[in-house]
């Protein structure tokens, strides 16, 4: 439980960081390292590991002070690191020395992280993945192909889920590792997407050696460890919030206001529906945050990712329909280095194309509806054709 004393302690620590470190002069990495050392990277983590051992709800107290002083939003700089790697490493790494060795550079954004989960043959059915890890003395030898890996070309470390036992049912034969992306045998290739850009990568792993010390959790316990990562991914994607009228809907409303020549009653009602649903979801996120501190997470907290993904698509489709034939042009399909592109989101046509991924990435909307149905509403699971079978006997294709 958070107390007034904890809140004061967090606020004081944040003010000290701000007094002693100027993000504008000292640089982002130094500022974030100081934030880690002060226990403000994840206030609910233990002391010495970037936290103060206080309630997670107090993170906002620290973030407000740090960011009001011009501090960066670290999640934006190292999203997989902050959102997924940090909680998983903190909970499952083998020693405190390793936890600290990974977490401090992660927090400072000196080391970017990525995740090696999805494979060409394992998307929604992640537990069916085929990348193998075979033990060889104190090391594991990894072979396989991963896909949809964002930041792989920049990342120093990756979270890896690999199959260590093909002879047991799929969930039971997985083990979780941290892999050094600079290891021999790691090859990263950009994966071009339908927008023309390459935000993601394919990662080929060929005889990559990982020390057993970098295994997270027990051999065969990888699925349970992965749940730590995925639950955090979902809550970080679903967070949302913000002021009324901000977010994706602002693009549609802005375009509407800029183009009165294109207004029709049918389009107006369509936009109003989208605005209304955005506002209902925004209020739901606000309610979820307010009640989670009192009652824990409720059903309303699980709907954000699903709703926002579909809304994004509908909002940009509206923009395209508003523009009519004008929308049928594009700026440039030349593959460019995204890091050098100033306007990453690009013109509205690119945003429209990009939104097609929203209902797939981070859990497809189809699977999310299953999860809402089964985990929140308590409905029975679907029949599974692979239930109880050894992984190697499951048909793939």
């Amino acid at each position: 439980m958070s107390t007034v004393a904890d809140s004061t302690r967090v606020a004081e620590a944040a003010r000290r960081v701000v007094q002693e470190h100027d993000p504008a002069r000292g640089g982002v990495e130094e500022f974030l390292a100081a934030t880690f050392d002060a226990g403000l990277a994840w206030v609910h983590f233990p002391e010495g590991l970037g936290g103060l051992g206080v309630s997670r709800g107090l993170q906002a107290v620290a973030d407000t002070i740090l960011q009001d002083a011009g501090g960066p939003v670290p999640f934006a700089l190292n999203p997989i690191g902050y959102g997924m790697a940090a909680p998983t490493v903190r909970e499952h790494a083998q020693t405190d020395e390793l936890k600290r060795a990974w977490l401090r550079p992660l927090a400072a954004t000196e080391h970017i992280w990525c995740q090696l989960f999805s494979e060409p043959g394992a998307g929604s059915d992640l537990a069916g993945l085929a990348t193998s890890a075979v033990q060889d003395g104190d090391e594991w030898v990894v072979n396989g192909q991963k896909v949809w890996t964002s930041l792989a070309h920049q990342a120093r470390w990756a979270l890896l889920l690999a199959r260590t036992d093909p002879d047991v049912p799929k969930h039971k034969g997985l083990t979780y590792f941290v892999v050094d992306m600079h290891s021999p045998g790691v090859e990263t290739r950009p994966l071009r997407q339908l927008t023309g850009q390459a935000e993601f990568n394919e990662v080929y792993l060929t005889d990559v050696r990982i020390p057993d010390a970098h295994r997270l959790g027990a051999v065969g316990d990888g699925w349970r460890v992965a749940m730590t990562t995925l639950m955090n991914e979902r809550s970080s994607i679903g967070a949302g919030g913000g002021r009324r009228g901000t977010g994706t809907i602002a693009d549609a409303v802005g375009l509407w206001a800029a183009r009165p020549d294109l207004h029709t009653p049918a389009l107006e009602d369509r936009l109003t529906r989208l605005w209304l649903r955005s506002e209902a979801q925004r209020l739901t996120s606000e309610r979820s945050r307010a009640t989670a501190t009192v009652d824990g997470p409720g059903p309303e907290g699980s709907v954000g990712k699903l709703v926002n993904a579909e809304l994004n698509q509908q909002v940009y489709r509206f923009c395209m329909d508003l523009l009519g034939p004008e929308a049928l042009l594009y700026h440039d399909y030349t593959l460019r280095d995204l890091e050098r592109t100033e306007d990453r989101l690009g013109p509205v046509q690119q945003r429209f194309l990009r939104s097609q991924a929203n209902t797939i990435e981070g859990g497809t909307s189809d699977v999310l509806r299953n999860i809402l149905g089964e985990r929140v509403l308590g409905l029975p699971g679907d029949l599974r054709a692979d239930s109880g079978k050894a992984w190697k006997d499951i048909p793939r294709g």
Partner: protein, 387 residues
């Protein structure tokens, strides 16, 4: 905008919710609802009196000085939500959603005080005949005229809870403009109507030189009626949330227990995904209804916008969830014996009362889109950039 306490219920509000739920389970189960909806009066005045005098849930946001509990609109919304979940039969719409808020907003005076106290105690009931247009006050649709001496003449069609009401609050055009008047129910000719939803009655009200007392004169009437319609919209949204949640629970339980093709129908994704969407709509409805209750209570948001957001969302959600409930249940959902039809008809009724979802969206468009700036519009590619 919203402070930290928004959306978080106090211990007292949780207890209130539990008490009303308990009362509704005892006094308004499905059998009772079915008996009352086919009775002459449409409700049980003894139970109504207990809601007022014993539970004290008819005037929760009425100031103590006016004989109320001195609580907030959120308290009242909690009680209305639970009564909506039980499809409680009684003049809630006329009395709690509209008449009491109108009287609370009306200028102090003997007429107001004499009317308000018995309504809060559950000793009398009221109906409001103001001729709203889509949930908003419009003097142009007032069909009743008032003489300088306060005698009303005219007809108001389809007044909810009008047939049994002890008091009628009527908007009438007098020499100085539109005022809000109180008429004894017995002074009006009332023609009870067979309603689509038998649990929410309506009557045509005909007034012929009916003696009336002035509640709010032309200088105040618009403000008073607008306040009542907005509070009524927020509370109606709470009722819609209560009904939608009840139907979602009912549908989920059915989908777990109903077996076809040798398995529970809830294990089929077609059914499971429909239920997931029903849950999303219900959660959205809940957020907008609670937001309206909090915002109208503490002034933290534009009341017209908050009320329309709630009504546009909740009207659509309840009606959609009710239709989906029938679908999930299949044939049984279409029968007279099964309760889905009762809620379906209430959902359709609530969606049309105080403005439809379309009406409220049109209002939102005027409040939001018409005032938006195009300065932050995203760039539009022109096809010439690459050259």
């Amino acid at each position: 905008m919203a402070d930290a306490t928004h959306f978080v219920f106090t211990d007292e509000q949780r207890e209130l919710r539990a008490a009303v739920r308990r009362f509704a389970a005892e006094q308004s189960d499905e059998q009772v609802v079915r008996r009352l909806m086919e009775s002459d009066l449409g409700f049980d005045p003894k139970v109504w009196a207990r809601l007022g005098a014993e539970l004290g849930v008819l005037g929760l946001s009425v100031p103590e000085a006016d004989g109320g509990v001195g609580g907030t609109l959120v308290d009242q919304a909690v009680a209305v939500e639970e009564l909506g979940a039980a499809l409680y039969c009684g003049p809630l719409f006329g009395t709690v959603l509209l008449a009491i808020p109108a009287l609370v907003a009306a200028p102090d005076g003997e007429v107001r005080d004499a009317l308000l106290a018995p309504l809060v105690e559950g000793a009398r009931t009221a109906a409001v005949a103001v001729g709203d247009r889509a949930g908003a006050f419009d003097p142009a649709v007032v069909t009743v005229t008032a003489t300088a001496g306060g005698a009303l003449t005219g007809t108001v069609p389809r007044v909810v809870d009008g047939a049994a009401a002890d008091d009628l609050l009527v908007a009438a055009t007098g020499p100085g403009g539109v005022g809000l008047y109180a008429v004894e129910g017995t002074a009006a000719e009332r023609i009870p109507l067979t309603t689509l939803d038998l649990t929410r009655r309506q009557a045509d009200v005909r007034l012929t030189d009916a003696p009336a007392r002035l509640v709010a004169g032309p200088a105040e009437a618009e403000r008073v009626i607008t306040h009542a319609l907005r509070v009524g919209s927020a509370l109606l949204a709470a009722e819609q949330v209560g009904g939608a949640q009840h139907l979602l629970d009912l549908s989920v339980e059915y989908a777990k227990g109903r077996l076809q093709f040798g398995r529970p129908i809830g294990s089929f994704q077609a059914v499971k995904h429909r239920l997931a969407d029903m849950m999303v709509d219900t959660e959205h409805a809940r957020s907008t209804a609670y937001h309206a209750a909090w915002a109208l209570g503490d002034g933290s948001d534009d009341p017209a916008l908050a009320a329309s957001i709630a009504q546009a969302t909740c009207s659509a959600a309840y009606a959609d969830v009710a239709a989906d409930t029938i679908q999930v249940h299949g044939g049984i959902g279409f029968t007279w014996e099964y309760q889905a039809q009762l809620y379906f008809k209430r959902a359709v009724t609530d969606a049309a009362l105080l403005g439809s979802a379309e009406d409220h969206r049109a209002r939102i468009a005027r409040l939001v889109l018409a005032t938006a700036s195009g300065d932050a519009a995203p760039r539009v590619a022109t096809g010439t950039e690459a050259r």
